[in-house]
Each structure stands twice: as C-alpha cells, then as structure tokens.
Symmetry: C2
C-alpha cells in the first residue's frame, strides 16, 4: 500500500509530504520504505491569513469555512505537483494521512458552557481533499483520543515504537519541531512501557527571537546563539515555567510557549544573548525531561527542524553526557520527514483497523482507532 503522509506544523512554514510504501506489519527492518519526501511552501496569502487568525485568536465564520477548503486545495495541489514532478500517475497513491493545521489545542478539560471540555482543532477538510484527489483520506487523528480523556498528543510514539525500539538499548526518539517531544522506549519494551510527552518549546522561541531581532527565519546552525552569552536572570525565569518539570502525560503548544508570554521576562538585553539563552532554555527543557522522566543513559534519535541547529544539539549532548546522539536520517528517515511519515503510518493503522494511540503517552482511557476515513468511490 502506497500511503502519503502530510504534516503542516504550528510554525506554518510549509507542507511536509512523505510518500511511503507499507506492507504487512511494517517496521524499520522490513515492510516499510520511504519512496519520496518533499517540502512545499504555503502560498503567501494563505500563510498571512492564518498568521492573522492565530495572532488575533479569532476568525470570521466565512474565513473559517473558506480557509478549511482552501487548505485542502493547497494540499491537493502540492501532492499533484509532487507526483507530476516525479512522473507519477495521480492514482499512484492508495491513501493519504493528513494532520491538518492546528488552530487550537486545549488538552486539559476546563469548564465551558457548564461542561468540562477539552478539545483540539485542526483546520482542513479531509473529505474535500479526498474528493479533490479521488483518493481515500484519513484525518482528524487527535479527536477520539481526547474524547476518551487523553491529551490527543503525542501521536508519533506508536511509530517510534514500531520503527525505533531496540531489544538491547534504551532509545529516546526526540523530535524538535515548533515544540519538542520525546518517546522513551526502554530496551526490549512493549507498548505498555512506552512513555512519551512534550518537553516544552522546540524551535518556536528561538525562531521568534531570530525573526524579531535579526530578521532571519531561524538561527542557522545555531550560529547566533553560539556567539552570545547566557543571561542568568532570564534563564532562571524561564526555568521556573511549571510545565517543564510537570509530570507526564503532558502536551503543550503555542498557547503557552509564545512570544507574548516569554517576552515579559526580557529586559534590556543584547539580542544575541537572548537567542543564546532561549537556545539553552530549549536544550534545558529537553534534557531535564529526559533526565527526570526517561533515562539519562540512552540512544537519542533526533528528528525535526531542530536537528539542524548544531549548537542546540551540542548543548543537549553536554547536558546528557551518558547519552549517544544520532539522527533519524541515520536510519533512513530524513529528520524533517519523520512526522509526515508517522501520519502516513497512522492512516495505514486506521484502514487496517488498528489503534493508533498509546494511552500511557496520551492519558486516554483506552487504545482506539484514530482518525476519520473519507473516500469518494
């Protein structure tokens, strides 16, 4: 089965598309092959509109409805382009798994209209996408887990479990996207032993500072951070954010780690020192969570955009001297492709009637099939 996985992260920087082949009981050793991976940019108009929506935390009903379909149209065009530029037929793909664009994620139930409600919201109509491409689509992966009391995240652990676990070593799959999260796979583990949770910020705060102070999309290779100095007072304020040392299961997002919340700690500091401190804080959030809640003697397999920040990786490595750090690309999975591949795998699980969540990771009452399945014929 050829499955296309599509991921668009909270940074709205682009569309990651992975086309994979899965056969029966796929694992890293057999039955799985990454055929193609590409990154596409969102059209500027769309990106601006979504950024406005996220900034204002508000949307008109018309924009909601139209953006929901426009998102699907943009994804459909990107997949079409990818197939075309590889001289592949439009019916090459058997199935699409798409995460959608997260606009809200509220993992802890709060009183709302007299009911305790937790919820998540991803923009994008899977049903429309399926009709546009005449290909079955699985989408809305987080809702069922949340309806069962889970946090709807993280969902990649079942992929990590099936593709990265080892009989002899402790493995930690670390993904550094907008946020950072780990999947801890003790040696010779079963699904019941898997622990997975968000650590805190990934690239989001570093990127924000690079954009605000240096007009760069991100801190290339961590060079700005490397040239700056740690600001102890700022670092201490950041370390005190409760989420960092909060016990798992836990998940987070831009609702907590956004520039508005962080910048209140910033005084009249040097710009490069701010980037340095945010990088050290991001590394701290990751390594502190690994140290307290996982295992400081493990193989860490890094994926996500943060894998390209050499300085960030150095600090993590320094914080965890007993760990060995490698990259998902060492295992044939480009660091930027892992989440897209994971959502292809989650779609594959759905159509095979297999559950996709790990209750120990999400906190849900039980394992369930994730996602809704849309097909047109």
């Amino acid at each position: 089965m050829i499955v296309c996985g599509v991921m668009t992260g909270t940074s709205i920087d682009g569309i990651d598309i992975a086309i994979c082949e899965f056969s029966e009981k796929p694992s890293i050793d057999k039955g799985f092959k990454l055929l193609l991976f590409s990154e596409y940019k969102f059209p500027k108009e769309f990106r601006n509109r979504i950024q406005e929506v996220i900034t204002s935390q508000n949307i008109s009903l018309r924009d909601l409805s139209q953006l929901n379909f426009l998102y699907s149209k943009i994804i459909a065009k990107s997949i079409d382009n990818m197939l075309l530029s590889n001289s592949l037929d439009s019916n090459f793909i058997d199935l699409i798994g798409i995460h959608g664009q997260t606009l809200w994620h509220e993992p802890i139930a709060q009183s709302f209209c007299n009911e305790m409600i937790s919820s998540t919201y991803q923009l994008g109509s899977g049903t429309a996408l399926s009709a546009m491409l005449n290909t079955p689509v699985v989408y809305d992966f987080r809702a069922a887990d949340m309806a069962l009391g889970g946090e709807g995240a993280p969902l990649v652990p079942i992929f990590d479990f099936n593709f990265f676990r080892s009989e002899t070593e402790n493995v930690i799959a670390l993904n550094i996207g907008g946020m950072s999260n780990i999947t801890y796979l003790p040696s010779n583990c079963t699904t019941n032993d898997v622990l997975a949770f968000d650590c805190g910020p990934g690239n989001t705060l570093i990127d924000s500072a690079a954009q605000i102070y240096f007009h760069k999309d991100y801190d290339f290779n961590g060079e700005i951070a490397r040239s700056g100095n740690l600001i102890p007072a700022f670092f201490t304020e950041l370390q005190s954010i409760e989420f960092i040392r909060q016990k798992p299961p836990k998940s987070t997002g831009r609702e907590l780690f956004n520039w508005k919340n962080i910048s209140k700690f910033i005084k009249n500091y040097e710009a490069r020192d701010i980037v340095r401190t945010l990088t050290e804080f991001t590394a701290y959030a990751i390594s502190e969570n690994i140290r307290i809640f996982a295992q400081d003697n493990a193989e860490i397999i890094v994926s996500g955009g943060g894998a390209n920040n050499a300085f960030l990786i150095e600090v993590i490595s320094k914080n965890l001297p007993k760990c060995n750090i490698s990259f998902s690309s060492d295992y044939g999975i480009p660091t930027q492709a892992k989440e897209a591949i994971a959502f292809a795998y989650l779609a594959w699980l759905n159509v095979n009637g297999l559950p996709g969540n790990l209750p120990k990771a999400t906190g849900a009452a039980k394992q369930v099939i994730l996602g809704a399945f849309a097909r047109c014929q």
Copy 2:
C-alpha cells in the same frame, strides 16, 4: 442495521434524532422501519453561545475548538438519554449519521486568497462523537460534493427518490425547515430525472417576525398570519429577491434570508400584517418554484416544521390548485423526522460504499460517496 440519524437545523431550536432499521436495498415498501424518533432541546448556554456566534459572524479559536467538542458531547448525551428512556442498551445502535450544526454555507465559488473557493462548515466532531459513544459515525456529508463543484445541497433527494417516487404520479417532496426545498420526482423517474433545490425561506422569516413582534418562538398554526392582511408594497419588494426565480441548481441559507436583509423593506406596518406578508411570501417562494421549475400537477408530500403551519399550507394549496397536498406522516414518517431519517440513510449509503449525492440536484461533477467515517474499534 440499526442506524441513528441526527439533524440540527439552522434555527438551533433542537436536536432531531431518528433511530431506523435498514436492511438490504431499503425503500418505503420494504427494508426500512422507523423505530424511534425524539426531539431534544439544546442546553440554553450552548444555544446562546451559538446564536452569539451566528449574529457576530465571528468566533474565537477557543470557542471554535471547545464548541466543536461540546456539540458532540450534547449529541452523545441526547442519544444516551433516548436509549435509556426506551430501555435500550448502549450498543443497540450500529451506526450514527450526523449532519452537524451549519455555521457557514457558501455554495458559489468566490475569489478567496487568490483561489476560487466554495465551502461549507458544520460544527461538530464526528470522530469525538464516535469515541464518546463507542459507535461508528458518518459525518461531514456536504464537503465532497462541494469539492466537486456541487453546492453541497440538497442531500435529501436520494432519500426522497428511494422512499417517495411513484410509477404513476409526479411527486414533489417539500421540506419546510428554516429554508424550504423540494425534490421533484416525475412519475416513473430514474435518478437522472430527479430535480431538487432550495426554494427560499422556510420558517426562518416567519419565526423571526413572531419572535420580534410577538415574543413567540413561532406563529402557532399560522394564526397570527391568518389574522393579518397582505402588505402589497412589502410583498412586491420580497418577490423581487433574485434567488426566488433563479434557475436551479441553487441552494441558500441564512446568509441571504436573515432578518437584517429582510427588515430593510419594513416600514411602519402593523405587526400581524408583516407576519401575514412573510407567510404569503414564503408560500410564494415555494409555489412559484414548483410552478416554474417542477410541475403544477403533482402529489406534494410536506415535511419539516412548516407542515404544522396550517395557514402556510393553505396558501401553498391555493397557489397550486392542481396539486394534492399530503404529509410525510401519511407515509409513516413524522414530518419533523424526515431529515434526521435521511441522514441515517446517507450514513447507511456511506458504509455500503454507495454514492449519496444526485449531481442534477447539487451541480456536482459526479456521484460520490458522501461523508467521513469514524470508528474507534
């Protein structure tokens, strides 16, 4: 197969739940049975919040996400109550078909972020509902048709075709909900002969006037209208609304027929005369569409809340002297239950891999399976 259909209309007045039994190739004569039908009220807090959203045409991202899940929770509780009060087990239902709460419907593509986009938006997570009740759910019925250039409405025609067509008579299934729509089934028709479209307002304008001028939810039996006089100038203004005589396929909603748009024609008139004129206009919109685009010699089978407005039905009957008017309840389908039953049937079609739209009715490029399928185990 026991299928539960759930409909909540644009008037947000309540939740219609029909529990039906379908066997192979269901029709009115065989293989279909309505087991239970109930109407539930939305909790006041929820209804008020949705009404605020519709009035302001704007929603915060948090409310969007939380209301989406809260809607599912309210539906789940209503279904649970219905089963409980009929001493039925929670696994009595095999499948749920749910329409969702429409917040936006834009059937004609408009330029949006440099793309031509038409779209529709229904609140309610089918995936969450499926997990809450541990029952498979089909939802998001309109998106695929719209992605293929259709108007995503009307969707009830395939139900009308299968359950109301006649070999010897022209049949018109007329539903008077918030809006009014007809399905025209010429005698001995095939799906290609079926014509179906929205006529214009149903109860929405009459209800608004009853609420504003008389503090009543609606004009009971049409008694206010019956006691008033037609205002010719107002009636002429209303008749001039282009949608009424626009050629099908066409669909409409509160985006066009809302109080703000209509009240601009209202001068210093008597309140009961306003209700009378809006009732005559509603009847005109229905009968004019039947006369021009369908057949003025037909059996009209009325369903929807408007079936209870005796005066409205009288005016329609007077406008179409060659038609015979009956009610869906004469065929074993309570007038208020038809749409909920139709969405149970559309869900049944989805899981049986059968298309649900009629391209001649919606304008879509082709017949497709409608809806997304969510199941948890």
